[in-house]
């Protein structure tokens, strides 16, 4: 799957995509096509495979000729929503990571480092502990609020118009630390909150239902579209602020739009299934190795391959410890960790 690419400029100041040859463009388009195929396969596997083994005929029956048998209900009420949520959340996390890394020109940027997960978690723990919210659909709005407030705050504190990569990352780290201090304090004094939050914090698709899917889908879809529209201005910004300005890119507008996108995507994803940090960090790195630094390719690839990874991990988690299941956040970390480390080791990381 990893396509040999011509050498890219590595010095960070001029990662201008070289004018792609026709051949290269064909290869990348074919790769994207293959990725979509992989996504379809994984989605089918996610519906067909689970704690309860099911014959393909029964799955088909449950999907298209549902007559209310126990298996049909299982397919309809559990596995389909879970798969849909996995698709949405996976795409959201991958895109958010890719946009963040492009925006901050920082290869380590991801929701965890910039404090967005911490913001969502802090809002959720407040909701559980002080407002008595205890349903997953109740978390959504609070996590969303927390993620939004924190990413805006980090952006402003990080320097808004003149944000540099280091300053943004420092602001995010600082915000995370302060928020986790607060979360720990609340959890320590309120064991009921601890009891709920420790399950949410792992990152899992197990509690998915159609209500959650319907609540987060609009946010993620809007985020998806805007993120794809941002590819061109973010590409220009990779050339440096002055060059981008000369090329007619509106820097402030692009930055603000990027932060809004990240908030939408991360807030919704985190609210729905807890913080799953590895995908946003890892997938863009893998994708960059395939496509090179052009965001017009990175973003669609990330949107397709991230759910492949997330759903694949979820399926693996359902199978390996049957009848119990391993939460997807753990599986993505266990699968993603070594891949990521191998990528870091294999060659010099493409600079941003």
């Amino acid at each position: 799957m990893l396509v040999d690419s011509p050498p890219q400029p590595r010095d960070g100041t001029s990662p201008a995509p070289p004018a792609p040859t026709v051949k290269r463009r064909t290869v990348r388009a074919a790769g994207l096509f293959v990725s979509v195929g992989a996504l379809a396969l994984v989605a089918v596997a996610s519906i067909a495979i689970g704690a309860k083994p099911m014959a393909p005929g029964d799955v088909w029956h449950g999907l298209f000729h549902a007559s209310g048998t126990a298996d049909d209900v299982l397919i309809h009420d559990v596995r389909v929503p879970r798969t849909l949520l996995g698709l949405l959340v996976g795409a959201a996390l991958g895109l958010a990571g890719a946009v963040m890394q492009a925006l901050t020109r920082n290869p380590l940027a991801e929701p965890g480092i910039l404090g967005v997960n911490a913001g969502a978690a802090a809002a959720v723990v407040s909701a559980i502990s002080f407002l008595g919210v205890n349903s997953l659909t109740g978390y959504v709005w609070f996590a969303f609020l927390g993620a939004g407030v924190v990413s805006a705050a980090v952006y402003l504190l990080g320097g808004s118009r003149a944000a540099t990569p280091v300053r943004l990352a420092l602001a995010g780290t600082a915000a995370s630390a302060a928020l986790y201090g607060y979360i720990n304090a609340v959890q320590l004094t309120d064991s009921a909150a601890l009891n709920q939050l420790r399950f949410w914090q792992v990152g899992s698709l197990a509690a998915a239902d159609m209500t959650t899917v319907r609540k987060v889908a609009p946010f993620i879809l809007v985020g998806l579209v805007v993120a794809l529209l941002l590819a061109r201005p973010l590409n220009a910004m990779a050339l440096g602020d002055d060059t981008a300005r000369a090329l007619g890119t509106r820097l402030t507008r692009t930055r603000i739009a990027s932060m809004v996108v990240v908030t939408l995507l991360c807030g919704a994803a985190t609210a729905a299934c807890g913080p799953i940090v590895f995908i946003g960090l890892m997938v863009p790195h893998i994708v960059r190795a395939i496509t090179g630094p052009d965001l017009r390719w990175i973003l669609p690839y990330a949107a397709v391959l991230s759910p492949v990874l997330l759903l694949g991990s979820d399926v693996v988690g359902r199978v390996v410890t049957r009848p119990a299941e391993l939460q997807v956040g753990i599986v993505t970390a266990l699968i993603g960790g070594p891949v990521f480390i191998r990528l870091v080791r294999r060659k010099r990381m493409a600079q941003l």
Binding site: L157, L170, A174, G181, R345
Partner: protein
């Protein structure tokens, strides 16, 4: 130098105040006279047996974290290359939580688990980042990968535990100095006495290293050996500090940066970072005991919150001054 002396004085003064703090308040003057061996028997008991060890643990843990952070940030040439970011704190936590959740071990066993977890993580990250030498960005990236895996492990262990164990694990995970006694002081002190001279001996090569590997080579610095020895020292200091008090967040990350700003010196600033770390932790422990009325919090809660807010404030003022 003046700054370092000042910081050391502040750390010690804060220590004296902290010793006087508690259910039975003792004036700073009485604390000093007791420490010098001329106090009343009742005060001597409270001070020497109960409170002095805790304060010493605070000073040593703070100093260890400060040094460890300074070394890591220097070696990785990255302000985020601090032990808590690149997975060592998480490694210690997994070790300690394994002991708590699966073996229901006592305090010593938990410390041992943390030490083993921290060292194993340090070794693994270092070996994984090794490729004809260890370089800054690869080290940070490998560490981030390890940290993400280990964090998942922590959350998993929390879901596997009973609520009682989970609560105990949370207290440990937050970082606390409650109930620390001489049994924690001696190992810390011994390790510190061995490692500090080593670290100081390598101060000059490290300073050269900050100019870049090539420049350091040209100046005759044994680049890989310097890095290996200092990494090992930093890992040991961080793991022992974590074993003694839990993963206290933010001290290793902030102390070197604050020290750098105060001394206005470039380079690793090892001693200044040590004094700054010690000061931060002692003051935070005092605050955690005093600021919240009846309920005393674990010190890690305070270092996390105050450290985070302080760094944010720093970012704002530095921006106005146009320095970052």
């Amino acid at each position: 130098m003046a700054v370092v002396g000042g910081l050391a004085a502040v750390a010690l003064a804060a220590g004296v105040v902290l010793i006087g703090t508690g259910d039975f308040t003792i004036a700073p003057g009485d604390v000093v006279s007791s420490l010098l061996g001329s106090g009343t028997p009742a005060q001597d008991f409270i001070i020497n047996e109960l409170r002095l060890p805790r304060v010493l643990v605070a000073l040593l843990v703070g100093a260890s974290l400060g040094i460890s952070g300074a070394l890591f940030q220097s070696i990785s040439r990255n302000p985020l290359g601090s032990p808590d970011v690149i997975g060592f704190g998480q490694g210690s936590s997994v070790g300690a939580l394994t002991v708590i959740v699966f073996f229901h071990g006592g305090a010593v066993a938990v410390s041992l688990g943390a030490l083993i977890g921290g060292l194993a993580t340090g070794l693994a990250v270092y070996l994984l980042a090794w490729k004809k030498g260890v370089h800054g960005y690869r080290l940070v990236l490998v560490g981030i990968g390890a940290a993400a895996m280990l964090t998942a492990g922590i959350h998993y262990l929390l879901t596997k535990s009973t609520l009682v164990d989970a609560t105990r694990a949370m207290v440990w995970l937050t970082g606390s100095l409650d109930g620390r006694d001489w049994a924690q002081v001696w190992p810390l002190l011994a390790l510190f006495a061995v490692l500090l001279p080593v670290v100081l001996a390598y101060g000059r090569p490290l300073r050269m290293l900050e100019m870049g590997d090539d420049a350091a080579y040209a100046l005759g610095v044994p680049v890989q050996r310097t890095r290996t020895v200092l990494m090992l020292a930093a890992v040991l200091l961080n793991a022992s500090a974590t074993a003694a008090a839990g993963p206290i967040s933010f001290v290793a990350l902030t102390a070197p940066q604050l020290a750098r700003r105060l001394t206005r010196a470039t380079g690793p600033n090892v001693i200044a970072s040590a004094c700054m770390g010690a000061t931060l932790l002692v003051v935070a422990d005092w605050g955690a005991q005093r600021l919240f009325g009846e309920s005393t919090l674990p010190v890690g809660v305070l270092t996390g919150m105050v450290g985070g807010v302080y760094l944010l404030w720093l970012l704002v003022t530095e921006r106005r001054a146009g320095r970052i």
